[in-house]
Symmetry: C2
Subunit: 140 residues, 2 copies
DNA sequence: TTGAAAATGAAATTCAGTTTCAATTAGTTT
DNA sequence: AAACTAATTGAAACTGAATTTCATTTTCAA
């Protein structure tokens, strides 16, 4: 099972491995998209009627704390969460018509960003590059 | 007075030029920072006790519609608004300690962004580049 | 001056997200 | 295996920013 590192995180913090957490984390790993709490909640409900909304929220927060998930708040959208893929940073193109999310990385941009920071004597700890527009399908 | 274009916008839409709108727009132009609705509301209150919260909200929305202001939602912060300076786009460095906001532009990044979009067959309509970290004063 | 349409402010409402709390559960200790 | 204790749970209450409602007021053109 892939969620071993989550169990490790729980142990290290003296927290408990519960049925609900197992279900939520398992689904989160399987979905593998930018999913909202509601998405996950409904998926979890299909597995087990007794899983509550707050538990889904709390579990996602734990995943973020564990460094296994990241929170994304795109313009005008509800908060979404995504799995951290082998610790690699990436940014997003977001279609304002269909909502499609395309990921990209660009080393040259990241290099230029360093320059910008240096120029302003600024120490970067994180960044967010979101490009909004129309995806290939919605262009015309 | 600089808010002539706002009055023009109102006329063109069949809307009315009111005392409240004059006060709010006037203050917004003078403040010239990334100000929250609350900032503006309090400033307006000092000028005229009868100006309400909703009117400030509504006026800022109108300014955005008129293309004279832009809405900014930095991570973990309340919504802020800023004056559009001669139609020029810019991005931001945000200090996560003191909240300072530094503006930057970088043509080379914007060019590379075009390339990224082309590669994904994506038509850009807008973008948002936010760099979080520590400003020169908060670095140590 | 008048009249119709727009604007106002206070209060109510919305909505995502968080907190509360009594009851339940996990995991360790006897 | 039972007892113990701290963490967890779900439902409901709450929060805070933003929006809407609506009776009253204001604008502005005729
Ligand atoms: Mn992503
Ligand atoms: Mn700015
Ligand atoms: Zn699309
Ligand atoms: Zn600072």
């Amino acid at each position: 099972m892939m969620n071993k590192s989550f169990r490790d995180y729980l142990r290290s913090k003296g927290l408990k491995s519960t049925h609900q957490r197992e279900v939520v984390v398992d689904l989160f790993l399987r979905l593998d998209t930018h999913c909202s709490v509601e998405d996950l909640y409904h998926a979890a409900q299909r597995k087990d009627k007794r899983i509550g909304y707050s538990t889904v929220y709390r579990t996602l927060k734990l995943l973020v704390e564990a460094g296994l998930a990241e929170e994304r708040r795109f313009s005008g959208e509800v908060t979404r969460f995504e799995l951290v893929h082998r610790g690699k940073h990436h940014d997003h193109l977001i279609c304002i018509k269909c909502g499609r999310i395309i990921e990209f990385t660009n080393d040259r941009i990241e290099k230029l960003q360093e320059k910008v920071a240096k120029k302003h004597n600024f120490k970067i700890s994180d960044h967010k590059y979101e490009i909004y527009g129309y995806c290939s399908r919605c262009k015309k």
